[in-house]
Subunit: 394 residues, 2 copies
């Protein structure tokens, strides 16, 4: 028996940092590179747990911030934890709530040289914030984030970090990074206070910050790597800094990483980004993009994204993508799906979400196969050429 939370690398690509691996958790093994659908409030929007199993989602995400506010982590704990409560017996990852706490503040406006002036108050101990639901005051600390995630009981839990906005000053990015590092140590200590049994059930991942500055990213990477978490995440990217900068930051981080740990890039999830980031050594991803675009009627094909609302699909008898094996494409034509979306029928949202999640998860399985066959670089080039060929502007 391999030990719990063991990450095994199975294949390394010869021409890039891409690799395949398995990460063992109490609720099953995750095959990497992996894309994790986001179930913010304990539900991946529009689909059921059974739908997710049919497209073979190996792990899903849930959000600490939202579940803490409603129904409250104590309710979920009382009902036997997140897995039992939501009837999902495969792995779950919960974020720490940090991103939500800070992204709310971003919406209120932050300039390059000022601190947040808004709904949140940051001190070295933690963050005071207002609920987006009712304006009530709450206080998150690293210890609080650990307690909530302990109550929720996900397989992978995340350290509480400060995610500074892309337009912050270097001075502020550094302050936020140092604070995040201090919080990481406190998260680790708090997590270690849990019983041995709990520790075996939950893996705590550390998070690298440092904004858009190479030296800060390197410093953060080294710091986090030393703390010897079972997995490491890169936070604070894909928040408006631009694609080029995002990839540069990843390239600065990876050389300092223990190669035997899974590397998780938070909040990334377009097919293009997945390929580029896997190329640079990322093993895990999550993003609301595929589920959100579905609810706007956009769908993936091997030729790019299209909008089902387009008039040309009105009498289209074909599935969203020819030869697609998803439940949607097996049964429904574009004409019917267009009708459902035009009429705001709920079934349409679900059917397109199923297709798009299947498309992404299937892409990840194909990537795993191509890495094993030392063909990743060629596959990536061909896929992107085709994918960008007919892409609608959506």
């Amino acid at each position: 028996m391999p030990k719990m939370f063991e990450f095994k690398i199975h294949h390394k690509d010869k021409n890039s940092l891409a690799r395949t691996g398995t990460f063992k958790t109490p609720h099953g093994i995750i095959h990497t590179p992996v894309f994790m659908p986001v179930g913010t409030k304990g539900t991946v929007k529009t689909v059921s747990q059974d739908d997710l199993k049919k497209i073979d989602a190996e792990i899903i995400l849930a959000n600490t911030y939202h579940l803490y506010l409603r129904p409250g982590e104590k309710v979920i704990k009382k009902l036997g934890g997140l897995h039992k409560w939501m009837s999902w017996n495969r792995p779950i990852l919960t974020d720490s709530g940090g991103f939500q706490v800070f992204s709310l503040a971003q919406e209120k406006g932050l300039t390059k040289n000022t601190k947040f002036k808004t709904a949140i108050k940051i001190d070295e101990n933690g963050v005071e914030f207002k609920s987006h639901l009712d304006g009530s005051h709450h206080y998150f600390t690293p210890e609080k984030a650990m307690q909530i995630q302990h109550d929720l009981g996900a397989d992978i839990i995340m350290a509480f970090d400060e995610c500074a906005p892309a337009q912050s000053s270097k001075k502020y990015f550094k302050e936020a990074m140092i604070r995040t590092h201090n919080w990481l140590i406190r998260c680790k200590k708090e997590h270690e206070k849990f019983s041995k049994k709990s520790q075996k059930k939950q893996a705590l991942f550390g998070i690298i910050q440092g904004g858009t500055y190479k030296d800060l990213r390197e410093e953060s990477a080294k710091f986090v790597n030393k703390l010897d978490f079972p997995g490491i995440a890169i936070g604070g990217l894909s928040v408006g800094e631009g694609k080029h900068t995002m990839l540069k930051m990843i390239e600065k981080v990876t050389p300092h990483m223990d190669k035997n740990k899974p590397l998780y890039l938070m909040g990334v999830g377009t097919p293009e980004d997945l390929l580029e980031c896997i190329d640079r050594g990322i093993d895990m991803f999550d993003c609301v993009h595929p589920t959100r675009m579905s609810r706007h009627g956009a769908f993936f094909t091997e030729h790019g994204r299209f909008s089902i609302k387009n008039t040309r699909f009105k009498t289209d008898k074909f599935p969203l993508q020819k030869n697609c094996k998803c439940e949607t494409c097996k049964s429904y034509c574009r004409s019917y799906l267009r009708h459902l979306i035009s009429e705001n029928e709920i079934l349409g949202l679900r059917l397109i979400t199923i297709h798009n999640l299947h498309f992404l998860l299937n892409l990840m399985r194909t990537i795993q196969k191509e890495i094993k066959e030392n063909n990743f670089t060629k596959f990536k080039r061909n896929f992107l050429r085709k994918f960008k060929s007919k892409n609608e502007k959506i």
Copy 2:
């Protein structure tokens, strides 16, 4: 091989007019008494065709008026007809559009002694109406209703009738009834113009009108019965006339019916009404009630209706109903379902709809069994006593 659209009666209850039967259609056999879930726009709201098969829905309804307006019956015809377009290979019944055309007018106000003054214009030839979507003008005649339903291609199609509001005067009810009778003859003629092949594929049902007047209902019943349709519907009930009046009208109609034809009561579908009307000889039902109540978070149990929004379900670990075999109850607890509905998560609407439709269809299967065992009256009494015992006011 029995002939197409053959209705066979299998068991008759000894103490009531309840009976079991089978109705053969080109897309399969329907076991009666049957409840038909309503899929107004070619989708039973929130659930997929696969969900409907899992709860063993034998037939569903779709609305001529809505599908005519969008996407248009010609689009559906081009895609191979309603069954193929919506990927449902079991029986479908389409209404004639009459009810929607008139119910729109009702909302605009009608007094006891006036005709409709509003968005619709009725003459002996047909009805001019405005689309509820964009105010565009349309004209439905019996012939037009037949043409649309022929293009849609449902197994059972309905005659075009005038459904006068419950508060109409007797004079107006009589005029509307006579018009409906004339239209029935025209519908029958038009349907017979279709090729022999089409006639074998679609059964036209006649509709009894006559409002809340016993003599008119009797007159209409005799008239419609003589036209020898393969099935007969009772229209214009459950539109605000009150439960007592509704049952009285049914009792006036049934003695004049050919007992070898299926009798369909349009727009009825609470558990209480289903039992009372089966008792009085009704074989087929449809209603938006179970799907609509689901989207408001109401659910059936053997002890009546409850609202999942009620605080007492916040930490309730039990399924909606103990021992229920539906997909929802097999996997999800009330606490999770309450959370989904409270958070406006789409999955919640679907899961509760699945449960409520399963509850009703399962009730129908149980009723069939009880009729076969000559136990219907006792079953009805016991069911209603229990069902009314803890019913919340919803």
